[in-house]
């Protein structure tokens, strides 16, 4: 199954070309140009990785990241910015970003990080699936014990 990537950047030319490059490399891509639209897409859609520009009109990148992590904590977010300030990078990581990259970013680096982010999401989903299975097994045993059939 293709990795589903959402590209978010208020610089429309950049968002379009990044989405196109990723599409050519086999990713299932979508794009939008602001934090509000990004949040709506993430809540209603099924994305694996979001590539999110930091410097956008309100809501800015950090605010959008917080909201994405609040609604869909399992979706991985890669922060992207032309300004490599250490403070914003740290803030992004504290808020749960998978990685922080600066523009212009080598395409190979972007692809590598997207693949790594998706792998972490899959591992997390697998852990959750196993935990839910275990919970299901425990509940079944409890019911059987309660019915005297265990």
């Amino acid at each position: 199954m293709k990795t589903r990537v959402l590209v978010v950047d208020d610089e429309k030319d950049f968002a379009r070309l990044l989405a196109e490059r990723l599409e050519l490399q086999g990713y299932d891509t979508d794009l939008c140009f602001g934090g509000k639209a990004a949040l709506e897409k993430v809540i209603n859609g099924d994305y694996d990785v979001v590539v999110l520009d930091l410097m956008m009109p309100a809501p800015d990148g950090i605010t959008t990241l917080k909201q994405i992590k609040h609604h869909k904590p399992i979706v991985e977010v890669i922060m992207l910015s032309g300004q490599a300030t250490r403070e914003t990078a740290i803030e992004g990581m504290i808020q749960g970003a998978f990685e922080y990259l600066t523009k212009p970013c080598e395409n190979e680096t972007m692809v590598f990080k997207i693949n790594e982010a998706h792998r972490r999401k899959r591992e997390q989903e697998e852990r959750i699936r196993k935990a839910l299975e275990e919970v299901g097994r425990i509940k079944r045993r409890q019911r059987e014990n309660a019915n005297g059939t265990g």
Partner: protein, 220 residues
């Protein structure tokens, strides 16, 4: 050392640094787009080498985008250069219309971050004044920031230059969300300092949604 001079120099450096950071951020964005489009052209070349058909119109669009953003980056560098040179002399004869155009050009991103745009309304003839270009830019952008922060809805701030009697007037209009208490803005210490150095006056009209700066029309 003159305390007033050192405190205003400090403020000027912070402002200068902020504006340079903002303009350089935009230059970086353009470079990222140029780099990305060049990479995309390479991706399409690789596909063609593998025998896949590529629409030549797409190639033309991409080369056009590269040219557009090279032009954009060049314009941004010109703006940065003009901004830097505004600090060359503490006082010199300038064309207010060109200064206001520069102010509009270097505050595009600032305005966009507040969902606003800035436009200019300029007379057909230059409006010459003898003043401190850098200091006046600082004051204008300080006023613009104030107006942008007063309200966050989509709007356009128009900056008009006029000659009125012996004074040159720069008026910012379209300022929504100003309240009566905002006339206190003119009592802000930084604003007062800049106005004093420029020998200028500031009028805030919350009802009309305008901020006006009046400059004396000194001979050079």
């Amino acid at each position: 050392m003159n305390t007033k001079q050192s405190s205003s120099d400090t403020f000027g450096l912070t402002f200068f640094g902020r504006m340079v950071a903002s303009i350089s951020h935009e230059i970086k964005n353009s470079l990222a787009i140029i780099d990305g489009n060049a990479g995309l052209l390479g991706d399409y070349m690789n596909l063609m080498e593998k025998g896949r058909a590529v629409n030549p119109d797409r190639i033309l669009v991409l080369t056009g985008k590269i040219a557009d953003h090279i032009h954009r980056a060049d314009t941004l560098v010109q703006n940065l250069n003009q901004f830097a040179h505004s600090a060359d002399l503490p006082q010199t004869q300038i064309d207010l219309c060109r200064l206001v155009e520069l102010m509009k050009n270097i505050t595009v991103r600032m305005a966009a971050s507040h969902w606003a745009t800035v436009s200019t309304r300029l007379p057909p003839q230059p409006v010459a004044v003898c003043t401190g270009a850098f200091l006046l830019l600082r004051l204008l952008i300080h006023c613009l920031e104030y107006v942008l922060q007063a309200d966050n809805g989509p709007r356009n701030i128009e900056v008009q230059v006029q000659k009125k009697a012996e004074k040159a007037v720069i008026e910012l209009s379209g300022a929504m969300g100003l309240t009566d208490s905002d006339t206190l803005f003119s009592a802000d210490r930084n604003v007062i300092g800049m106005l004093r150095e420029l020998d200028a006056s500031l009028l805030v009209d919350p009802e009309a949604g305008t901020l006006s700066i009046q400059l004396p029309d000194r001979p050079a």
